[in-house]
């Protein structure tokens, strides 16, 4: 496929891998921020091509994984409200809250719907005036423009029965939180390509400077990743720490200005709780000024039990790159995609799910005994 197959080409991949091998003289730990990249890495077996000097650790860039458990509980409570239609992107549905997920709520009769765009949720609101339509506004800077746009549009069209439950987080503060930790092992970053499509990459320059760490804005296809790793390795070998852009076909230095304008019109920076990482100051968005009346928190005051995390889930360590999924004692034993203890086992972008689905090998076969006639 055009614009796709050329980034999955075996010959070019081998060439890049050889170039990395030729340059590298020492071991390096590089973190890919995005869960989407984690999946490409595992799904394409990319680590089979890399020299052993490179350790890839998987970052916190999975929106589903870092959404705090309190918000999932809140979402479930809203969804169970008889007047509510609760809309969400698909992969939020299976994430476990303290006691249940949105999918469980749906099985019990709640009106939970998958949408592909917040504007579809707005359309639903217009078509169901007697219902309160709530959209779960989850994500990084990537989804913020569309989510902001839905609120802006609701305001513009005077739609009163629409609101959003905001759980927006930002990449740069999370990177700083990781880098300022004493346990930090990360020597280079593959920065989030699609986040930078919206925000540009100027805001990463001071981070690279302050923490002396190379940051390469990288795309999501196997060749993108190999090239991003190659560029990081060259910087590390040369002792440089700059922001470079591998993903130039999608990312401009200044980003997407109109999208940024919509975001800042509707949202303002706020402190945010990250699942697995804790509270990070100035690391997310909340609705600003007159748009606050579209905050689902105001329409559905939450009076649930305080949230409880599974004590066995080590997603915090995984999201910081300190542990790999298979190093968790619960991995694939007590924690599986059917019964996830933590969010990284759920999302198609979660590191644990990636390892579970694609990463297993001969000596650790735990394929359940499954068989039976296929029916429909």
């Amino acid at each position: 496929m055009k614009f796709l197959s050329e980034y999955r080409d075996a010959k070019a991949a081998k060439k890049l891998a050889a170039a990395i091998r030729q340059k590298i003289t020492r071991p390096y730990t590089i973190m890919e921020i995005c869960g989407g990249k984690t999946h490409t890495i595992v799904k394409s077996g990319l680590e089979d091509l890399l020299p052993k000097e490179i350790t890839l650790v998987h970052g916190p860039g999975c929106p589903v994984c870092v959404t705090p458990i309190e918000l999932i509980d809140k979402a479930v409570a809203i969804a169970k409200h008889p007047d509510a239609i609760f809309c969400s992107f698909g992969d939020m549905l299976r994430v476990p809250g303290s006691s249940k997920s949105l999918l469980d709520a749906k099985a019990e009769g709640a009106d939970v719907r998958i949408v592909y765009s917040p504007l579809d949720a707005l359309k639903l609101a217009k078509a169901n005036l007697h219902k309160q339509v709530v959209f779960f506004a989850v994500g990084f800077e990537t989804t913020a423009p569309a989510n902001a746009m839905s609120v802006w549009q609701a305001d513009h069209d005077g739609v009163e029965n629409f609101s959003i439950l905001v759980s927006h987080v930002l990449v740069p503060p999370a990177m700083e939180a990781l880098l300022s930790s004493e346990q930090c092992v990360v020597q280079g970053f593959l920065a989030a390509g699609h986040v930078c499509t919206v925000m540009g990459f100027e805001e990463y320059v001071p981070i690279a400077e302050k923490y002396k760490v190379p940051i390469v804005v990288t795309g999501f296809e196997p060749l993108d990743l190999l090239e991003g790793i190659y560029m990081s390795v060259i910087q590390l070998e040369e002792g440089r720490h700059q922001v470079e852009n591998q993903y130039a076909r999608a990312v401009r230095r200044e980003g997407n200005r109109p999208a940024q304008k919509t975001i800042s019109e509707v949202f303002e920076i706020s402190s945010r709780q990250w699942r697995g990482l804790g509270e990070i100051p100035a690391s997310g968005f909340q609705l600003r000024g007159r748009f606050q009346r579209y905050d689902a928190n105001r329409r559905f005051p939450f009076t649930g039990e305080p949230a409880k995390e599974s004590p066995e889930c080590i997603s915090g360590l995984i999201l910081q790159g300190l542990k790999k999924p298979h190093q968790c004692p619960a991995f694939a034993v007590k924690c599986t995609p059917e019964n996830p203890l933590g969010a990284p086992m759920v999302s198609s972008e979660g590191a644990c799910a990636a390892y579970y689905h694609y990463g297993r090998r001969q000596n650790q076969s735990f394929q359940p005994e499954l068989s039976g006639p296929s029916s429909r």
Binding site: A107, F140, N339, E349, R361, Q362, Q364, F366, L370
Partner: protein
């Protein structure tokens, strides 16, 4: 991930707990939960020799004749989708299950569960399609039943069809998962994922430059041609719910074998691939309604391909992989860039991702 990093890791409890207090949609998704339902509820209750074959249909002997018997229910929404509707799906689905037993489809039954308020015209359209599909496939719909449920208790039309077919070939090796062995070639009968994406495009109001039509079709002509040519068929499986990945996992699990695939060989149309990329879906898991996988000895793979390519419904046939002895219970895919990964069974529904 490099092997060295994970080999020390030892896993003890292989079977995930079943979410067992309520039925969730994923119990009908064709993945792990469906299988757990079958293994834990249905097989223990009804256990018998025919059921133990764990095939798409049961093969039974009646007065010396070998009959295949199968049933299937159709609850697709929307009722009418690009390239087909629930009617031809209900006929071809059951006909194909019989074909997967190597049986010539003969007779069908149809049970209709209609929702109060359904437009008569919709029912007419569906029944006409059923009639046409049956006529084209040389099967007769010989018995049926109709029930009407209160408005809101159904989804327009639910159809159940059962079918009987006869196994005429005198092959020594029975067709079924038990005959699959290391050294077999795996052939798929055409490009993958069109039916699932066609349904999804309507359900989610997605618009593509050119519409993606379902692949819904009767595959018996392809199977008949293989039998006629004397190809030693080890196993046939239609690639319906759960797609190629789920089907191959079932067989790898049943036979404790490894199935190796090469990503570059797996046929997926560009439009389908594009839709999957956008939605974050994997075409290996997307449903087909006119595609099947066939296992034949490697030495007969080329002959089988030649036969299949001459039949319209399977003209896009491709050899996508082969069966090896170990590692058991694994489907392993070599990616385009040359890395390896496990192709797992689907856990729950495939959910579109955020970004």
């Amino acid at each position: 991930m490099a092997d060295a990093k994970i080999n020390h890791f030892n896993l003890s409890c292989p079977v995930p707990r079943v979410a067992d207090d309520r039925i969730v949609l994923a119990h009908g998704g064709g993945g792990r939960l469906t299988h757990q339902l079958i293994e834990k509820i249905f097989i223990p209750a009804f256990s018998n020799a025919a059921l133990e074959q764990r095939h798409d249909g049961a093969v039974v002997r009646v007065n010396g004749a070998r009959l295949a018997f199968t049933t299937d229910s159709f609850v697709v929404r929307p009722l009418i989708f690009p390239g087909g509707n629930i009617g031809d799906l209900a006929v071809n689905g059951t006909v194909n299950d019989l074909a997967m037993c190597g049986a010539r489809p003969l007779y069908l039954s149809a049970g209709f569960i209609l929702e109060e308020g359904l437009e008569m015209e919709a029912l007419r359209t569906v029944v006409t399609s059923m009639q046409q599909a049956a006529a084209k496939g040389n099967v007769e719909l010989v018995t049926g039943d109709t029930k009407v449920v209160d408005k809101g208790k159904g989804d327009g039309i639910f159809i159940n069809t059962s079918g009987i077919g006869v196994i005429e070939s005198k092959m020594k090796v029975p067709i079924g998962p038990a005959s699959v062995q290391p050294g077999d070639a795996v052939i798929v009968s055409g490009d993958l994922g069109r039916h699932g994406i066609a349904i999804l495009s309507v359900r989610e109001s997605l618009e593509f430059e050119s519409p993606i039509l379902t692949d819904c079709a009767n595959v018996w002509p392809a199977v008949e041609a293989l039998l006629h040519a004397g190809i030693e068929i080890h196993c046939l499986r239609d690639l319906t719910r759960g797609g190629l990945a789920t089907t191959l996992n079932e067989i790898a699990g049943d036979r404790n074998i490894c199935i190796r695939l090469e990503e570059v060989l797996i046929p997926v149309e560009e439009t389908v691939q594009g839709a999957c990329e956008i939605l974050g879906l994997d075409p290996l898991y997307v449903a087909n309604e006119g595609r099947f996988a066939v296992f034949v000895p490697a030495a007969q793979a080329d002959a089988a391909l030649e036969v299949m390519k001459r039949v319209e419904v399977s003209q896009g046939s491709v050899r996508v992989g082969s069966v090896e002895k170990s590692p058991g219970r694994m489907v392993i895919l070599q990616s385009r860039i040359g890395g390896n990964r496990v192709v797992d069974m689907l856990s729950g529904e495939q959910l579109p991702r955020i970004c």
